[in-house]
Symmetry: C2
């Protein structure tokens, strides 16, 4: 039951943001009584917090899966980014701002996920890529890892990429492929070109 | 006389920011009376504004020189970035924040310079690079031009690149070379590698 509530609540937050959704909305949407809802969660703050924990755990699992599935660091970064892109595409952009301003506990686990898990995963990817001579040995792992994190955020930033000028999905795809191309060695470029042909079946990406 | 005042005032602002410098400081530093200073400028706001106009005109001239000197778009972007890097290296980081908050007329010409001249120069560089098959035809000129503008700003952003972790000059060099590598074709990479060997004589860059 708890997981079902978390998934439903997440879908509501994802679509409408956290602020406009009440405990009533959540219980009505799932078809349970408010009493049942309060058996699992103390209040909305608690639901937002636990949804965030749940989602970030799933993200950690997914990243581990991609790391196991991928044949090399290049495929890993392409697969993980594609997963993230699909996931974020459905999100209400107001959600992050809501959480940052009004749900400090949830925001804290989110920040920790970014600063510890995500940044560390990117660092590891870069180090392995350099070891395997797929990424250029001159790149500074720390600077490039932080750049990649910032690029993920930047794609949503309408001050940098005004919506009238560019579509967000195209911005994300361009920033990803530009980032990857920028770190590759000549050997890496050959492998990258093959993955682009094989993996990217959606029309927006096949141009790359 | 006016140009001499502008250059001296700029040097003071560059080093100490605008807020702590008074009309007295400027006249004393140049060795002229305040009366003479006020013959050329109505107040400090006017000096800040005219310093900004003067500097941005010089920047436009410099960029034109680099475009004339450069053999191709790759050399152009490397030379222009090196000029900017050297120029910004001497700047008090508080200066931009001071100007943005307290000198709206000066900030407006600065924003116009960035949005019109700089962005347009980068767009032109990218278009010519694609035409000459040095830059990948898949890159979106608008997105990449805005990315480059944001990367210039980002190198100063201590939230993204904390100073304890990375030195600013190394961040700028890494972001520049990563940006350029990310847009190059295989043909472009060959030419780029030659320029890196020839032009970059400072120790921090020769590793690239």
């Amino acid at each position: 039951m708890k997981e079902r509530i978390l998934l439903k609540a997440e879908a509501l937050f994802w679509k409408f943001g956290t602020r406009s959704i009440t405990m009533d909305d959540i219980s009505r949407d799932i078809g349970i009584s408010k009493k049942t809802l309060y058996q699992h969660f103390t209040d909305k703050d608690d639901i937002v917090y636990q949804v965030m924990l749940y989602r970030l755990d799933k993200n950690r699992e997914n990243v581990s899966c991609y790391m196991a599935m991928a044949h090399d660091p290049i495929e890993e970064i392409l697969l993980a980014s594609e997963m993230m892109r699909q996931h974020l595409a459905e999100m209400n952009p107001a959600l992050w701002i809501d959480v940052q301003r009004h749900y400090p506990r949830a925001w804290e686990v989110c920040t920790e996920f970014k600063e510890k898990f995500l940044l560390e995963s990117i660092r590891n990817n870069l180090k392995r890529g350099i070891e395997q001579a797929l990424y250029r040995p001159e790149i500074d792992v720390e600077i490039m890892a932080r750049l990649r994190m910032e690029l993920i955020r930047m794609a949503f930033d309408t001050d940098v990429f005004p919506r009238g000028v560019t579509a967000m999905i195209e911005v994300q795809i361009q920033l990803l492929h530009h980032f990857v191309r920028g770190i590759l060695t000549e050997k890496g470029i050959l492998i990258y070109n093959q993955y682009v042909k094989e993996h990217q079946n959606d029309p927006a990406s096949t141009t790359l």
